[in-house]
Amino acid sequence: MNPEQLRFTDTHEWVHLETTPEGQTLATVGLTDFAIEQLNDLVYIQLPEVGQQVRRGEAFGEVESVKAVSDLYSPLDGEVEEVNTSLTQDLDPLSQDPFGAGWLIKVRPSNPAQVEELMDYQAYRKMCQEG
């Protein structure tokens, strides 16, 4: 996924909205390269179950590194449709391809318009630079 076309939370999650062939909206959620570089040395990830409800700004899982543990926050309200369960066995895709193979969950959003309130790529990069 091209990060320039994603939206971002201030807690370093990214989200990508797509319309499925069935005409449904699906949001893919991941963690940014910046967050992963900051965490570094990842050891563990906990992700939700399919069918679980997530709420904007609330934790849906956690990621842990040698040095720290961080909650993962949902950018949108909705229901978990798919989970990248392979990450619980192997975290390498998350550190090597955070905007692609390292995606975390796919959510069926109950209010897709919430994505408009998130930062675009430029605003997110600016936030990261300003630390």
């Binding site: 570094n40 040395d41 050891v43 563990y44 956690e62 842990e64 040698v66 040095k67 543990v69």
Partner: protein, 371 residues
């Protein structure tokens, strides 16, 4: 942040793009690249650390050996010249102030003195404590900022430093120190460390630090080693089962609880010896090693459980890069401290099984020993 102290090697750390963090009043590198990679470099080759933040106090004067002997838990008067000893400092109530290394040394003028290396966070506390309890004819100097301190650790550490040090370092015994020269600059080199590996710690004047560090870095990288930050220093000492003040050791820790009986000689009086003797040690919680089955990390302050009841607290934990397991140290009631005891750690609301295992978690293979 502007009030943080900088070591003489601070510009180098920043130029390398290290992740810098505040630590005990200093601005220090947490990691240059990855904690795990730096950790593994130390276990398999060699790593070099800027530990100039460690407090360094010099004590001089007539009868300084007897004076210092009264202020620390371990006997000093029988130390030989060039010997280094691990010890503890406590107040008269037996409250721990710090754990330290004591060096007995002689300067170029044939003048005997002691060097005390203290934790960065406790430097001022130890200085003030010594000042308060030493007679006026003993001089006490804080040399921390006049000197840099570099640790070189790992199976290839001696190979890395050998060409730069005047004294043949391979002849330097464990826990011995020598006044020598590094790249022709006056230095103190000791066979000590905080990683569980062989190696040395080098003290050089702040003005020579950068030159020595650069030369060492060339050599270390040529041997497949790395510069390592505080992150790796912590995971290495944890695997080696070494206590860290502020984690395993606090003001209220009795040294016997922490497995530090060897560092306390109660057969002579010292400040705090009565209090340490009177403590009902048998009923106090014991420091244990824990191994978890999850990859999650048991961090400082997490509760240790037995049959759903809180029986202790984690003091340090990490995911061990060498063992590829989640390991922790913590205190539990004496009845639950036996190796093999099955406990749980409350990992942010989810109890996970943890087994009491022997400390240290990691033993380096000594030369000549079989695998």
């Amino acid at each position: 942040m502007s009030s943080l102290l900088h070591t003489p090697l601070h510009p180098w750390h920043v130029s390398q793009g290290a992740q810098m963090v505040p630590f005990a009043g200093w601005h220090m590198p947490l990691r240059y690249t990855s904690i795990v990679e730096e950790h593994q470099a130390v276990r398999t080759a060699v790593g070099m650390f800027d530990i100039s933040h460690m407090g360094r106090l010099r004590l001089d004067g007539p009868g300084v050996d007897r004076a210092l002997d009264r202020l620390v838990t371990r006997r000093v008067v029988d130390m030989r010249l060039g010997q280094v000893r691990y010890s503890l400092v406590c107040d008269e109530d037996g409250h721990l102030l710090d754990d330290i290394l004591i060096y007995r040394l002689m300067d170029a003028g044939g003048h005997e003195y002691f060097l005390v290396v203290a934790n960065a966070a406790n430097r001022q506390k130890v200085y003030q404590h010594f000042q308060q309890h030493l007679d006026e004819d003993i001089s006490l100097m804080d040399l921390t900022q006049q000197w840099a301190m570099i640790a070189v650790q790992g199976p290839r550490a001696l190979e890395a430093v050998e060409p730069m040090v005047e004294f043949p370092v391979k002849e330097l015994r464990y826990y011995r120190a020598v006044e020598t020269a590094v790249l022709g600059r006056g230095a103190l080199v000791s066979r000590t460390g905080y990683t569980g590996e062989d190696g040395v710690e080098i003290l050089v004047g702040a003005g020579a630090a950068s030159e020595v560090w650069q030369a060492l870095w060339q050599k270390v990288t040529a041997l497949g080693g790395k510069a390592a930050g505080l992150g790796a220093r912590d995971t290495l000492r944890l695997e080696a089962g070494m206590p860290l003040f502020g984690h395993e050791l606090t003001a209220n820790t009795h040294p016997f609880q922490a497995g530090l009986r060897f560092a306390v000689n109660l057969d002579r009086p010292f400040l705090g010896s009565d209090a340490l003797k009177e403590a009902a040690v048998d009923s106090l919680a014991r420091l244990v090693g824990l191994e978890l089955r999850t990859r999650r990390v048991a961090r400082q302050g997490y509760s240790i459980l037995h049959q759903g009841q809180v029986v202790g607290q984690v003091t340090s934990g990490t995911f061990s890069p060498t063992l590829q397991k989640s390991i922790a140290m913590g205190y539990v009631q004496p009845a639950l401290a036996q190796v093999g005891t099955e406990l749980e750690v409350d990992l942010r609301g989810r109890p996970e099984p943890a087994t009491v295992v022997p400390l240290p978690f990691y033993h380096r293979r000594k030369k000549g020993s079989s695998p």
